[in-house]
């Protein structure tokens, strides 16, 4: 086996930000939350995005309570990160788990985020999350603020990315208001 060459790879298609893919593994009872959530890898180009996407398991291959998180720069996919605290998330739950093409929708979500077409503003979107739960897949888009004008525009685009109908509504929750179990969305479209 030859020694790994220290080759400089020139990526021709830089992204606007560095992005980090995180994974939450399901709790088996022994670990602390901080042991479950781990960064997998960071990338900064279209070329690396595809290489990574082709190499990691698809959403429908995840265990229950397994989550993917793709976040900008070094933002942690937690409410407590100061770059998330003032923001919130647009969410939609796909309850027909067997009939939704979650792999395609997740890829569309990832592309809208790394390609920055989900927003006009610079850096309003912090990341995107996929949860696999027993009764639903959920995809959430995390924003930096809760400025309503921006949220509506991003939310409308998010609905298109997820191929939702007019009858489907996505909900926006602020992170600060999410502590209680009966948290209510502040917006629905």
């Amino acid at each position: 086996q030859p020694q790994q060459a220290q080759q400089e790879v020139e990526f021709k298609h830089p992204l606007n930000s560095k992005w980090t893919l995180w994974y939450t593994k399901p709790a088996s009872g022994k670990e602390a939350w901080s042991d479950l959530l781990k960064p997998i890898i960071s990338f900064e180009s279209v070329e690396e995005f595809w290489g990574i996407f082709n190499s990691v398991p698809q959403p429908n291959e995840l265990p229950l309570k397994g989550d993917y998180h793709l976040f900008r720069d070094d933002i942690k996919p937690e409410w407590e990160d100061e770059r998330n605290t003032e923001g919130g998330r647009w969410s939609f739950e796909f309850k027909a788990k067997n009939s939704v093409d979650i792999n395609e929708l997740w890829l569309r979500g990832l592309m809208s985020v790394i390609g920055e077409t989900i927003q006009d503003d610079e850096n309003e979107v912090n990341g995107i999350v996929l949860n696999n739960r027993k009764f639903a897949y959920r995809i959430s888009l995390w924003t930096k603020t809760t400025t309503k004008g921006k949220l509506f525009q991003i939310g409308e685009r998010f609905k298109k990315v997820l191929k939702l109908n007019d009858a489907d509504s996505i909900e926006f929750y602020t992170h600060k208001g999410s502590d209680s179990r009966d948290a209510k969305p502040i917006l629905m479209i």
Partner: protein, 57 residues
């Protein structure tokens, strides 16, 4: 914003995929498969009481 890519532009570049060597993706995929198998096993034994879905996070 300097670097924007539409979905079509990104898909056109899919053939340029470059797999970073800093992570062993086979090990990662294998660990995820094991987590699923463990859950399937627990499901079969009916001992899945502890993994009720929690929707808060």
């Amino acid at each position: 914003m300097s670097n924007k890519y539409t979905e079509a532009q990104l898909i056109e570049l899919r053939s340029t995929a470059y797999v970073p060597t800093t992570v062993d993706f086979e090990i990662f995929a294998k660990s995820i498969q094991e987590q699923r198998e463990l859950q399937n096993e627990q499901e079969r034994r009916g001992s899945h009481v502890g993994i009720r879905p929690k929707f808060n996070k």
